[in-house]
């Protein structure tokens, strides 16, 4: 596996590793059967007027997975931090991979996993907020990938 310098940096020194005790949202995607599992924890600065504009103030993750999975989780956490919900929902796997200066083709699914697990955390938050309607519009984990 030939990883970029960026990937190796995030793999060796992952940002935002850990859990958040009283997280506003928690999301997990992946499956140890496939060798990749990610859990994201988020703290949200609430916006009662417009939930879309609520902002991720803190984000932490845990990952069981390959080098790419760890780097993706780290990069995705950095990209999501401080962003609004609507901004985060627009993040694509290619954004993450691009910010890592690319991923080997066989590892592209990992970058999907990062974005999706964060989305799951947002869904969790929205559900807790009683906004199942908004939560259902967010994709979250895809069954086909894992």
């Amino acid at each position: 596996m030939q990883y970029s310098q960026k990937v190796m940096d995030h793999f060796m020194n992952p940002r935002n590793v850990g859990e958040i005790q009283n997280a506003d949202g928690v999301g997990t995607c992946g499956n140890p059967v496939c060798g990749d599992l990610m859990t994201f924890y988020v703290k949200i600065e609430p916006r009662t007027d417009n939930l879309d504009m609520a902002r991720i103030t803190e984000i932490r993750f845990k990952t069981f997975g390959c080098g790419a999975a760890i780097a993706v989780a780290s990069m995705a956490s950095e990209m999501a931090k401080g962003k609004t919900l609507s901004e985060v929902v627009d993040l694509s796997r290619d954004d993450v991979a691009d910010n890592l200066d690319g991923l080997p083709p066989v590892k592209m699914h990992c970058s999907n996993l990062g974005v999706q697990a964060i989305q799951e955390a947002l869904k969790d938050y929205l559900t807790k907020m009683g906004r199942r309607d908004l939560a259902s519009k967010i994709k979250g984990c895809s069954k086909e990938e894992h």
Binding site: M12, G35, D36, L37, T39, F64, G65, G67, V106
Partner: protein, 383 residues
């Protein structure tokens, strides 16, 4: 740099390189040429054949040089299949190298049925299952001598006995054992045996197939009359000379080396298992290659450990070199009944000729911290 990936490939011994060098330029004619220059190349070739025959206890005319273990495996399976059209069943094991497994799969295209013998938790083939499956429609049974990922050694004599009761050909992929442990084709019931030089400090790109006198097979490559008409192509003389030299060295040093390497391997296992909780040793506890240590590290994925080791100049492998590039957990570990996460969390250390105690101690020093760091990051881990 600490290289612990000898089952993937080995550095070529400098004595081997030394032996090869004259055959690039000074003695570089075609062994099929009838002039004196050709004779000299031919003599070198036949000298290597003798060395290999001695190592395997075979006759010289039972040795066919190939470009490696994969070609030998392909020749054995395809060659015997295409040389007849009566028997249409191929039996192999669930833990073979891809060179055997994929080849068997391919033969389905030509009307062959493929049966895979399962293995127990240690990776030993199920002899009862084999016994029930071998029948008069079976052409060949291909079961490896020792597994490349976990090192488990299969009971060749017993397999040979069962196989021969039905007049079936017994092929063994001995790529991981030739040059490492003694083999005697006369007493082991083997009809065909594959080997590859680069797994025992010989050069890459050269191997051989042993074929017991009388066993019929079609060549994989057709062409000139090389290798008794059974393997066409201008012979890779330097490679063959290197293989021969590797055989000579193995004959001399194998038994002492095996002891030395076993010590290193056991030291490594003791060192890490004392320091890291929840490690699982994969493979047979005793009937196992002396150089191979395959462990599953709970809660952690293999590649991430590999990369962390790599960053510290330690080169190991996760499953086999070939599966490392893929996303699927090792078929060997799964066949041995490991759960997926444990299979994904496996790591293979394979020692060899140039490893020292210092190498091992460095790994013992560094590895626990790596595991700890990755476990702390793992959502599966609850300390």
């Amino acid at each position: 740099m600490i290289y612990l990936d000898y089952n993937a490939t080995t550095p070529t011994d400098s004595r081997v390189v030394e032996a090869m060098l004259p055959y690039f330029h000074d003695i570089s004619a075609n062994p099929s040429s009838i002039h004196t220059a050709g004779h000299k190349a031919r003599e070198a070739l036949e000298g290597s054949r003798t060395a290999l025959a001695e190592l395997l206890k075979s006759r010289n005319d039972e040795i066919y040089f190939t470009s490696g273990g994969t070609e030998a495996d392909n020749t054995a399976i395809k060659g015997t299949s295409f040389a007849q059209d009566k028997r249409k069943k191929i039996i192999t094991s669930a833990i073979e190298h891809h060179a055997v497994l994929t080849t068997c799969e391919y033969m389905k295209k030509f009307g062959f049925r493929v049966v895979k013998v399962p293995v127990d938790h240690y990776g030993v083939v199920d002899l009862d299952f084999l016994e029930q499956e071998v029948d008069d429609n079976t052409l060949i049974v291909s079961i490896m001598h020792a597994n490349n990922e976990v090192g488990t050694i299969e009971p060749l004599e017993k397999i040979g006995e069962i196989v021969h009761r039905h007049g079936v050909i017994f092929h063994t992929d001995a790529v991981q054992t030739v040059g490492k442990i003694p083999i005697d084709v006369r007493t082991s019931g083997i009809d065909m045996l594959s080997l590859s030089a680069h797994k025992f400090c010989g050069p890459k790109g050269i191997g051989a197939l042993y074929v017991r006198k009388g066993v019929r097979f079609d060549p994989l490559s057709h062409g000139g009359h090389h290798e008794g008409g059974k393997r066409a192509g201008t012979e890779n003389v330097p490679g063959i000379v290197g293989l021969g030299k590797a055989c000579e060295i193995a004959l001399d040093e194998m038994s002492a080396e095996e002891k030395r390497i076993r010590k290193l391997r056991d030291r490594l296992w003791q060192g890490i298992s004392e320091r890291i909780p929840e490690l699982k040793l994969n493979g047979h506890p005793e009937k196992r290659l002396a150089n191979t240590l395959n462990v599953s590290v709970k809660y952690v994925e293999g590649e991430s450990m590999l990369l962390q080791l790599d960053a510290r100049g330690i080169f190991a492998s996760s499953g086999s070199a070939c599966t490392s590039g893929s996303l699927e957990a090792s078929h060997v570990l799964l066949a041995m009944g490991l759960p997926h996460d444990m299979a994904h969390g496996s790591l293979r250390f394979s020692c060899g000729r140039y490893n020292t105690e210092r190498d091992i101690d460095k790994v013992i020093e560094v590895f626990p911290g790596i595991v700890e760091k990755l476990r702390v990051m793992s959502p599966l881990y609850r300390p």
